[in-house]
Structure formats: structure tokens, C-alpha cells
């Protein structure tokens, strides 16, 4: 059974925060909001690590019971000067319900303090169970995101080899049902050296998420594909098809294509699948009409820059270089020219 790793209750986390954790760790947890806590079964401390090993579901028997706890069954855990009380719930989930230091024969000794507590009150609460559910859901989602990246790598590599440069693969949703298909097409375009603009030769990777219901899942799938193909917003454009569907196209270089092909030849451990960078936001600042920007910032809507690019204004663009097309468009409008 995986996923049943010993974890502190939220109340016990408070004890860890005040007494046990190093200040750096403490900062990490206090900065995070309740819903965005890091996984509680991954707190890096000798006593939590020890509990994870001792209560790993293989050796349920043989734990030493804390005799002072009568109303509940609590087990001892020891690591160096640290002591903990561990409770196993009905599903076999080990909970670290209290931690402290050993001080033999001293009133501040962990087991003395623990003996005097209301043990029922230390059991995992509804909040604890909710937090556990959220963490399990997060892991399921992360595994799904990884599987989408793996599918994208396979599809791009297969499209490169296919006679028609295309590959269509099914993609499951996080619960294992068919979510839709991913179609990848890889095309090579010659350079364009007409007078007005110069375009280098480019490789166009088009993505078609046909059959997906629009929503958070299809957007998440598109983002994971983008992280594999070209992890930068500026690389992507939309391409409406004659049948009314939309394709998203990225301009990539030969090096990237080789990297993706290399990733397809090993298992899922390649960095492109396992630890891809997040998508880089647009690299230049765009001008938009003043009337639209206020609503957009408040509602999180996309706005259209003077250059024609759509973007969702988020952070202060002060430090970004200004988009040249936007600059030209603004100069055309200013009274002095």
C-alpha cells in the first residue's frame, strides 16, 4: 500500500513549528497558507523521517504502546533526543499526534507531558482528514500531469517519424477515464527572406486537443503539452481550422525536437517529463487601452495588446522590455508622432 506515510496532525504541526523545526523550515510552513501547505508526510526532520520508516505498514506489529494513553492506542517513536506518539487510524494511516524531547525524570520529559494530556483531543480532526485528502488529490493530479507530459513526448517523437508527420494518442483523465485525444503534427517550414520581414526556417508543432470538454482539465493538459514542446508563452500561437476547431502551434528549433526524441527513448525519468520548467510568461510588456486594463487586472481576463497579442495582465511589467510592435503602434497614435 502506498501513500500511507506517517504524518503529523495539524495540531502536532504547530508543536513542530514552535519547538522542533529549524527556523528555515518553520518559515516555509508559516508563509504557506492553510490550503497550500506542503505535503505533511514530507517534513524533513529526524523524528518525522523516523516515524515514516517505523510505521511503513509492513511492520504493524511490534510497536511499543504508550501505557499512559488508555482511551486511545498510541505508539512510541524515538529518534535521538526526539520522542513522538503515533496513532494508527482505521485505514492504517499513521498519525504523529504529539512530539517532544526526552528529559529523563524531568517534568518537561515528553512522556510525562503526554501522560497528562487529553488523548482523545489529540486524534486527527476533520481538518486533518481534509488536508490528507487534498494531499492525496494533489499527488493524483501531479501523476496525471506527468503522464500527459509522457504522452506528449511520445506523440511528438512518433510524429517526427511518421510518414504524414502526425500522431494521435488517447489521453486519460486523472481517474482513468478517456478524456480526449492529443494530436501532434510536426512540420518544417522554409525560411522567408521577403523584403518586409525575415523569418528563419522553423519547425511548427501543432497541438489539437480534439474531443476534450473545455475546462480546467483541458487547459491543464494543454499546459503540460506546452511544457514539453515549448515552455514559453511567446512560442505559442492559435490557429483556427476550417472545421471550426482550434489548434495551438509552437515554433520550435531542431535542438528542442532532438531533446524530446531523446526523452522518448528513455523511460519517464527524463527531465522533460519528470521535472520540466514552468511555462515562462510573456517576455515583453504590451500596451493596452487604459479602460480595459483595470477590469482585466481585477477579473483576471485576457486583454489584447496594441500589437495584437493577448495576455492576462498579472505582475508589474515595469522591468520587462516593451514589445516593439506595441511601441510602434503607440507612437503612431501619439500627437507628436
Amino acid at each position: 500500500v502506498s501513500g500511507l506515510i506517517a504524518r503529523p496532525t495539524l495540531a502536532c504541526l504547530q508543536v513542530l513549528l514552535t519547538d522542533v523545526l529549524e527556523s528555515v523550515e518553520r518559515k516555509r510552513f508559516t508563509v504557506a497558507k492553510h490550503a497550500a501547505l506542503p505535503p505533511l508526510d514530507a517534513i524533513d526532520h529526524p523524528i518525522t523521517r523516523h516515524c515514516a520508516t517505523q510505521f511503513d505498514n509492513r511492520a504493524n506489529a511490534g510497536h511499543e504502546r504508550i501505557k499512559s494513553a488508555v482511551a486511545i492506542v498510541a505508539f512510541k517513536a524515538k529518534s535521538g533526543p526526539w520522542r513522538a506518539a503515533v496513532y494508527m487510524d482505521n485505514e492504517g494511516q499513521p498519525w504523529i499526534i504529539d512530539v517532544g524531547r526526552r528529559h529523563d525524570d524531568d517534568p518537561s520529559d515528553f512522556y510525562r507531558l503526554f501522560a497528562a494530556k487529553d488523548h482523545q483531543a489529540l486524534l486527527p480532526t476533520a481538518d486533518d482528514l481534509r488536508q490528507l485528502k487534498l494531499e492525496r488529490a494533489t499527488r493524483i493530479l501531479e501523476a496525471w500531469e506527468r503522464s500527459v507530459r509522457s504522452t506528449a513526448v511520445t506523440a511528438v517523437a512518433a510524429a517526427c517519424k511518421a510518414p504524414d508527420n502526425k500522431c494521435k494518442l488517447p489521453v486519460q483523465d486523472p481517474k482513468g477515464a478517456l478524456a480526449g485525444h492529443l494530436t501532434v503534427e510536426v512540420e518544417r517550414l522554409a525560411a522567408d527572406t521577403s523584403d518586409a520581414h525575415e523569418y528563419p526556417a522553423e519547425i511548427i508543432v501543432s497541438i489539437d486537443l480534439g474531443g476534450w470538454a473545455n475546462g480546467p482539465l483541458s487547459r491543464a493538459a494543454m499546459r503540460e503539452v506546452a511544457r514539453v514542446v515549448a515552455p514559453s508563452e511567446d512560442s505559442w500561437d492559435a490557429e483556427p481550422q476550417s472545421d471550426g476547431t482550434m489548434r495551438y502551434v509552437a515554433s520550435v528549433n531542431e535542438v528542442r525536437l532532438r531533446q524530446i526524441e531523446a526523452a522518448s527513448e528513455v523511460d519517464d525519468s527524463h527531465a522533460i517529463v519528470a521535472t520540466p520548467p514552468v511555462i515562462a510568461p510573456t517576455s515583453s510588456a504590451h500596451y493596452v487601452g487604459k479602460s480595459t486594463i483595470v477590469d482585466a487586472v481585477v477579473n483576471g481576463d485576457a486583454v489584447r495588446g496594441l500589437c495584437g497579442r493577448w495576455f492576462v495582465p498579472k505582475h508589474d511589467p515595469g522591468d520587462l522590455p516593451i514589445c516593439l510592435t506595441c511601441e510602434a503602434a503607440r507612437e503612431r497614435r501619439s500627437p507628436t508622432g
Binding site: K133, L141, R219, R223, R309, R333
Partner: protein, 133 residues
Amino acid sequence: MVTRLRPDSADQPLLEQIQNLIAAANRTEFTAELELLVDLLESGSEVVCALPDSSMTPTEVAAYLGVSRPYVYRLLDRGVLPCHNVGRDRRVPTASVLDYALRRDDGRRVLAETFASAEADRQALIAELAGAD
């Protein structure tokens, strides 16, 4: 043939005069559309005028869409943009190009929102997977 109207601030008095003329005229469907046009120009929008049955060369299409000519030929070859032959060259109906640009705008908006909604989507998906409670 495509004309792009790009007003700048110096044109504002003229646009105001046109608005006054429209306001003084009898209201018809045509004056309503003219009004919309002038409003767009006054707000600083760029407006493109084209005869309904005009067509563009691939080079014009590339310049208008901001893509390379090979990309335009690709769109033509795939039938994404319709075209007809004039001698050895191809022509694309202007209306199709404008329609393509409009729909691409929609796609670009969706794309921008896709990239921006990562955190909100993540919270929604986690909440859904965790079950409502």
C-alpha cells in the same frame, strides 16, 4: 485590396465633426454602423476596410497576419484558408483572411487565459479529486 485606418490624436477633431454629422442625420441602420465605425476609430482602434469580394496575395496575407509566407502557403495547402489561382499565383479572399484573423484572436485569448489560469485550475482540479466536502 485592404485599407487599414489608423487614426492618431490629431484626427480626433475630424472624428468629432463626423460624429456630429451622424448625430444630425436621420437614424438608419447605415448611420448606426457609421457611428460604430467612428466610435472604434475614436477609441484608438485600428479598422480594416476591404471590398467584400477583394482578394489578397500570399505576401499581403503574410504581412497582415504577421506570419511568414511559407506559413501562409501551409495554411493554403491545408485548406485552412481558401484560395483560387490567378495564373501561377494564388489569391486569398480578403473576407477569409479577416475571418481567420478574428477567430485566431479568439484562440489567442483562450491561449492567454490557459497559461494564466494554472493556479486556479489546479485548485479546482484538486478540490474535485478530493471530493466535495
